[in-house]
């Protein structure tokens, strides 16, 4: 290619970065002429703009196409005139999760050392995969119906969320806690805040034996809520019969449940745990356990298999022990004052909301 040939050819090669060293030297020589430089710059600008415009148009077209395919689940079945509600898939997922809870409970092996896997002990993270299986079946049936009407209808691709659990804030600036088994198997972890925003988090430290993990939101200057975390971490054990409650995300919205401490130790006498009489389901692993005075007693880890009323919680003592193994533990600004103590339960829950959130774990 000779530079004398065509200014457009040179401009295109320049934009594509495919000029040889020799050509660049030659070009630089010619750019000394102001007239040529002006012409060349205009040509380069135009090539960039036309190519950029084209690329963006293709991107927009692709977006429209993706949108159409991903929202195809809401399509109307012509013959019967039934509109599938927008929340159909979510409802199906929740229904399926209930079905899984009541029927096929899978046992996760977590602590082989004490044979929990063989026993009546179930971690309560929600495994989205199972739900999705049921969802996929329903979707398949649905699609068959729809395809009778419209053969070209694409199916929305499944989300790649693998597990969901619940987390709660340790400090207002981004440290939080969840059950270790929720995140153990994933590639990346996000939390979803009250207004739906996702924040990526990284693992700070964990204790697999106790089933506790401490994570931190990646984003700088992140805050869960407006002030300090409203509850305090008590290292001492709660008394038998103490009234407790929890907030968690067994589905896409926050769920409140209450109960009492039914034994001071946990599964098979585990001293790091409590046994609670509290209804809990998949997705609630990692939920905070709080007494009526706003003390944080621990976090949910598992439910008993035969007796669903038994729920196990890791005590906050185990959590604090893990916390102190973090190198910069002293610089963590842990909440010092309990701001829930004198509030009604409703106000406590409202106050808690920004500090309790859904944890979503992704795995490819």
């Amino acid at each position: 290619m000779s530079l004398n040939k065509n200014i457009w050819e040179v401009a295109e090669a320049y934009v594509a970065g495919s000029l040889s060293q020799q050509e660049i030297t030659e070009l630089n020589g010619r750019l000394a002429s102001a007239e040529f430089a002006n012409e060349f710059n205009e040509a380069v600008d135009l090539v960039r703009s036309v190519a950029g415009n084209g690329k963006q148009k293709r991107f927009r077209a692709m977006l429209r196409d993706i949108h159409q395919k991903q929202t195809a689940g809401k399509v109307i079945k012509k013959g019967l005139n039934i509109v599938l509600p927008a929340h159909f898939w979510r409802t199906a997922a929740v229904a399926a999760s209930v079905a899984i809870l009541t029927s096929t409970i899978t046992i996760w092996s977590l602590k082989p050392s004490i044979n929990k896997s063989e026993s009546q002990y179930n971690n309560i993270s929600r495994e989205v995969k199972d739900i999705k299986k049921v969802q996929a079946q329903q979707q398949a049936t649905q699609n068959q119906l729809i395809q009778k009407v419209n053969k070209n209808l694409p199916t929305p691709p499944p989300s790649d969320v693998k597990y969901t659990g619940t987390g709660f804030a340790l400090t207002n600036d981004g440290y939080f806690v969840t059950a270790y088994h929720v995140i153990a198997d994933g590639d990346s972890v996000y939390i979803q805040s009250q207004d739906g925003e996702y924040f990526k988090a990284f693992l700070v430290n964990f204790n697999a034996e106790a089933d506790v993990a401490i994570l931190k939101v990646e984003k700088k200057n992140f805050h869960f809520g407006k002030g300090d975390v409203p509850y305090v971490f008590t290292g001492s054990k709660a008394t038998l019969g103490a009234q407790i409650y929890t907030l968690g995300y067994p589905k896409d919205e926050m769920v409140y449940s209450e109960g009492y401490v039914s034994a001071k130790n946990g599964y098979q006498g585990d001293e790091q745990q409590y046994t609670l009489s509290l209804p809990a389901g998949h997705g609630q692993s990692g939920s905070p356990v709080i007494d009526g005075k706003g003390n944080l007693l621990g976090l949910l880890t598992a439910v008993g298999r035969q007796n669903e009323a038994n729920t196990y919680a890791v005590s906050s003592k185990a959590l604090l022990e893990l916390l102190h193994t973090i190198p910069h533990a002293n610089s963590l600004r842990l909440p010092k004052t309990n701001r829930l103590g004198h509030m009604s339960r409703e106000s406590q829950i409202e106050k808690m909301q920004p500090y309790t959130f859904s944890v979503k774990v992704y795995k490819k």
């Binding site: 050819e9 207004d195 200057n221």
Partner: protein, 192 residues
């Protein structure tokens, strides 16, 4: 968990290249958030689709720069841009004075950065609009030829066949002539 696999930077690079998989993933992960938010704030699902796609185009534009690094997660960015675009749209329609609620964007890192990104985006859109107008006036076969090459990403080989040139080199020469005509039109329009 120990090594985050879904690196957001990789996702951005794939998005910048216009890869469908990455774009679908972002759509899947974030569209419903904006849709939910907008419906709570008086918009419709149709508005949400427009808004989200516009925010994706803003991100796509930003990601074209290889040195571009997000200071927040992609989700946060898309959400903040969507909010800003929406409030801007409301302000322009003069319905009523609208104030950004304190959670629009992030107080700490400033809504200003998002506004800058949106301004750059709008300038570029205006620029592309002028370019399209010039392209419409450039006359045939130039209009179709340039569109086939730049908008539809067709190869010179295919274009030569479609437009009846004996070989790709002839089509190329014609393309350069067309670019020269487009330049004249475009810069005359800009000078006005």
């Amino acid at each position: 968990m120990h090594s985050p696999l879904n690196s957001e930077q990789q996702l951005l690079a794939a998005l910048a290249a216009g890869q469908r998989g990455a774009t679908e993933q972002l759509y899947q992960q974030h569209y419903h958030v904006i849709n939910g938010w907008l419906i709570k704030n008086g918009g419709s699902s149709v508005d949400a689709a427009d808004l989200f796609q516009e925010a994706m185009v803003v991100l796509f534009g930003k990601a074209q720069d290889k040195d571009f690094r997000l200071t927040c997660s992609i989700g946060t960015y898309l959400f903040a841009i969507s909010k800003h675009l929406w409030y801007k749209k409301l302000q322009r329609s003069h319905r009523e004075p609208v104030y950004l609620p304190d959670n629009a964007g992030d107080e700490d890192e400033g809504g200003i950065a998002y506004d800058d990104d949106i301004n750059v985006h709008e300038e570029r859109e205006a620029h592309y609009e002028q370019l399209d107008a010039a392209l419409d006036q450039v006359g045939e076969p130039c209009r179709s030829l340039l569109k086939a090459y730049y908008h539809h990403d067709k190869s010179m080989q295919d274009i030569a066949a479609d437009f009846g040139y004996t070989n790709p080199d002839n089509a190329k020469t014609q393309k350069y002539k067309c670019l020269a005509r487009l330049r004249k039109l475009f810069y005359t329009m800009q000078a006005k």
